[in-house]
């Protein structure tokens, strides 16, 4: 790695984080922590603040109040060394549609300072199952193919913290199974995975910690039944309140 030594962390601590956009409060006093080898699910209806929380964790948005600590490091002090340890798949896929799959991956591998961007890109294409379409421009890809490519782009540099916003969007069943397997392997590698999803049936049994966000606040998720039943019960009790 040509950049300064990456920050090593085993835990993320989110303490009292609020985030305002003008007068609108997207996050309100959110606190939780997660450890290496955990998969954390952010659940909640549209507009609950899940994507904002992922942006804050990715250091792309600063909290209005509160703090996020990555082990002992803070985003302000660690800067680029911390970013080297974060991979982010957002809902928009952060790919250049005019470039081929290989060119996209090589570009981002280069930006991350990987030693051999060509080899890294080739390996990532194989993992995404896109070797045969490597030199096609991304514009012609289906949503599922783009999603697989974007996922590999986010994990190219083997980040300690992997953030996924709706990672199952557009994936067929076989790809979903592969992704679940990939998430399990990230957990086995003691990475920290935080994912925002509405695909409750797919992630049921996968999550080590499920957090329900509603109107920017963390709400308790009940303990009985399937994830979908617990989610429904929690949302219904929130509406009744």
């Amino acid at each position: 790695m040509p950049y300064s030594e990456p920050v090593h962390f085993e835990r993320i601590t989110v303490a009292d984080v609020s985030r305002h956009f003008g007068r609108r409060r997207a996050l309100s006093r959110v606190s939780f922590d997660c450890a290496a080898g955990q998969i954390v699910g952010l659940l909640g209806p549209n507009g609950a603040g899940k994507s904002t929380l992922l942006s804050v964790l990715a250091t792309l948005a600063a909290p209005s109040t509160g703090s996020v600590r990555y082990g002992a490091a803070t985003p302000g002090a660690a800067g680029a060394a911390l970013r080297a340890q974060i991979g982010f798949l957002s809902h928009d896929l952060q790919l250049y549609p005019e470039l081929s799959a290989r060119e996209n991956l090589e570009f981002f591998a280069g930006l991350h300072g990987l030693d051999d961007p060509r080899r890294e890109a080739a390996d990532a294409l194989a993992r995404a199952g896109l070797d045969d379409r490597a030199d096609d421009v991304v514009e012609g890809f289906s949503r599922g193919m783009r999603q697989r490519l974007a996922l590999e782009r986010a994990l190219l540099h083997e980040p300690r913290l992997a953030l996924f916003d709706e990672p199952f969007t557009g994936l067929d069943e076989a790809s979903c199974v592969k992704l679940v397997r990939r998430l399990r392997s990230l957990r086995a590698d003691r990475r920290i995975v935080v994912l925002a999803t509405h695909d409750l049936d797919i992630v049921d049994g996968l999550l080590d910690q499920a957090l329900l966000l509603r109107a920017g606040r963390l709400r308790p998720l009940g303990g009985e039944g399937t994830l979908r039943e617990r989610y429904r019960a929690a949302v219904a009790s929130g509406e009744a309140r």
């Binding site: 990456p6 250091t59 792309l60 948005a61 982010f88 790919l95 250049y96 782009r153």
Partner: protein, 227 residues
């Protein structure tokens, strides 16, 4: 420093690759600049003779207008599909991304200026290439000054809904001195009796402007890009 330049080069190469496939910026900017010069030539050339002193102004107006068009689109590729966040999350020095975007724009504007300068010299019968090194210095420094401020504003406004309106409103008040220096420097070069000492002064002032605004832009790019 090598790392900084490597990242800047990656961004330039990516932009050139995308542009070579879409040709969106090149065609619109060149077409706009040519139209601009042609329209002015109908207004300022009578009976085969151009109005005295018009050529310098028209050259710089074409550069400024087509440059604004290019600047407005500079970060569009990054805005679409949220690629900007992918760039910002890379563990690279963020000013290197700015320098890469700026260098890509400068290359594009260099192509536009080469075409526009030949057209202005031909249509307005202006001796633009009498002092080619000085003209090159004026155009290069003027374009760097204009584009360095414009690239920063374009990045600042990338998440703003009314960015197309706001960019010229913010850009022109700050870059007017660059345009005035460019026009004045070019005018003294193509005058019947060229004043080379004055041309040197304008080139020096442009250099000073560029140094100040490039430094400010490199310094402010990181905080500006944090949401």
């Amino acid at each position: 420093m090598n790392e900084f330049l490597r990242v800047a080069w990656l961004v330039v190469r990516k932009d050139l690759r995308v542009e070579s496939r879409s040709r969106e910026l090149l065609f619109t900017t060149v077409f706009f600049a040519i139209s601009c010069v042609l329209v002015f030539s109908f207004g300022f050339v009578r009976g085969g003779r151009a109005v005295e002193g018009a050529a310098a102004g028209i050259l710089w107006i074409a550069v400024a207008f087509s440059g604004t068009l290019a600047l407005g689109r500079a970060f569009e590729r990054e805005r679409h599909h949220d690629a900007l966040r992918g760039l910002l999350l890379a563990p690279a020095a963020r000013p290197a991304i700015y320098v890469g975007k700026l260098a890509g724009l400068l290359l594009l504007l260099a192509v536009v200026e080469a075409i526009v300068a030949v057209m202005v010299a031909f249509l307005f019968q202006a001796p633009l290439f009498r002092f080619p090194v000085r003209l090159f210095a004026l155009l290069a420094l003027g374009t760097i000054g204009f584009a360095s401020v414009g690239t920063l504003f374009s990045a600042m406004l990338v998440r703003t809904r009314s960015r197309a309106v706001l960019l010229p409103v913010l850009l022109y008040p700050i870059t007017i001195p660059v345009l005035i220096m460019g026009v004045s420097g070019t005018a003294v070069l193509i005058a019947p009796e060229p004043d080379l000492a004055m041309a040197r002064l304008w080139i020096g002032l442009l250099f000073f402007f560029d140094a100040v605004f490039l430094t400010l832009a490199l310094w402010t790019f990181e905080p500006v890009m944090t949401e």
